[in-house]
Symmetry: C2
Subunit: 280 residues, 2 copies
């Protein structure tokens, strides 16, 4: 339990103060924050609220969108926005800024990928200066066109390679990488760069490319296997439960958090497999 972190997208109905209080009450010591929720109360209030409840921030989500293309079409300058996010991360007391790099701009996949590499190069000095890691998160290939031309952990490592590990890390999110036939090798190669580990499941059949995620145990992801891989690669930090799911989002945060804790205990933290939760 001491490694469990609630990524606050999972309890989307909760405001930041509600999520922080909910975690404190449930004995969850870590929280992964989202910038839109932080912005609702302001960075200073958010930071104070977290501190006052004795919580720690596992990551801030998210910077990026360097290609200029997001799910709603063209995006603003991702570099300027990511610089701002680095400052927010410092204020919130986390050294991990999750990056979603952006989708295919101008129908040019190769060019969009080059923009990501260029942006990273420009941001590394700021990351080192602030002591915050730029944490590249490969997203599921089904989100390539709209959200992320970064699709595999191997590709993230190739991007990170030229920079020191304290400047550029990677996030391993089970939903995005569980299918990858070389994920074990890639995680091993990521030793020293793993800035975060996020767990959830993929619902089968998949109801939606973005929202088709479930609690650990609801799909086919082997959570213990992937946890053992990231641990063998030296990662011993917080484990975020991050679930995009419209049904969960419609329900009261406290109820959702209770299920998050139960599924984490059974399917992620425990050493033996527990009973399978079927999706509703």
């Amino acid at each position: 339990m001491e490694r469990l972190s609630l990524n606050q997208i999972t309890t989307r109905r909760w405001s930041l103060p509600e999520a922080v209080a909910g975690c404190a009450q449930a004995g969850v010591g870590w929280i992964g924050l989202w910038r839109d929720k932080v912005a609702e109360v302001g960075v200073e209030t958010a930071a104070r609220t977290v501190r006052d409840h004795g919580l720690r921030v596992s990551s801030l989500c998210r910077g990026g969108f360097f290609t200029g293309r997001g799910p709603d079409g063209p995006t603003d300058d991702g570099i300027a926005d990511t610089r701002a996010a680095l400052d927010e991360a410092v204020a919130l007391g986390t050294d991990v800024l999750v990056l979603v790099v952006g989708g295919v701009a101008d129908r040019d996949l190769a060019g969009s990928r080059r923009r990501v590499a260029d942006a990273l190069d420009q941001l590394v000095p700021a990351a080192l200066d602030r002591g915050v890691r730029l944490a590249l998160e490969p997203l599921h290939p089904v989100q390539c066109a709209e959200r992320s031309v970064l699709s595999t952990l191997r590709q993230a490592l190739d991007l990170a390679g030229p920079y020191p590990p304290e400047a550029v890390g990677v996030v391993v999110d089970e939903f995005h990488v569980w299918w990858d036939p070389s994920i074990e090798n890639s995680i091993a190669a990521a030793a020293g760069r793993i800035a975060g580990f996020q767990v959830c499941d993929e619902l089968v059949p998949l109801p939606d490319p973005l929202l088709g995620r479930g609690l650990p145990g609801q799909g086919f992801v082997d959570h213990r296997h992937l946890r053992s891989c990231v641990e063998a690669a030296g990662y011993d930090g917080p484990i975020e439960v991050e679930i995009f799911n419209a049904d969960l989002w419609a329900r009261p945060g406290a109820e959702v958090l209770e299920e998050v804790i139960a599924s984490y205990r059974t399917h992620v933290a425990a050493s033996e497999p527990g009973p399978v939760h079927r999706s509703g």
Copy 2:
């Protein structure tokens, strides 16, 4: 135009005789057949119909489902079914049998992949005996759980590696591989094993993980780039247009085939990019 093949799933409303006659009338010399459509008229009738219209069969779809798990749940013995499909391929005059290997059985991804390798090993002698290639088709990772634990071209090449190229080949389907950051390298490494090249586009936003495909030009796939990659790897065979799309399937076959030909000419065959077709 001489390389264009209509994969008959694209004109799903058409029976096999209708699709064959439609191709002949439109000047399309190749057709990719599906076994359910073949079964409706019987293999011998199907073969005679194709011959009588002067068409050639680019591939037969499909064998596989070796893991025991398909989109509708558990599947029958994929090995026996694939042996039968090899015989059908011979009767239909094609040397390419497309394989969809099956999804995750028993919540065991690694074990499911081993079943695929074992099945391939059992089928190679029959393939060599019949002169038909087992054509491994990696499917998009979004279809891993339900349809295919074979997700990348690199993985297909690793599976094919132990066997002669005339026994085990690979199919490059744009929808499934366009996002792959190492697709260029993998296609180059597939030289001598490429048994088929299938084109279509991925609709943006993706309406459905299975049916979210469009005509070439409707999405972000760079068809000329991928065509040049498979050609540089030595592939000069037929190019199938294969589109899973409920709207297309609802429309008359002749109308659909006309659009297939136009989009192929503009976005796949021509040397200069044409105007973009936006999805409706």
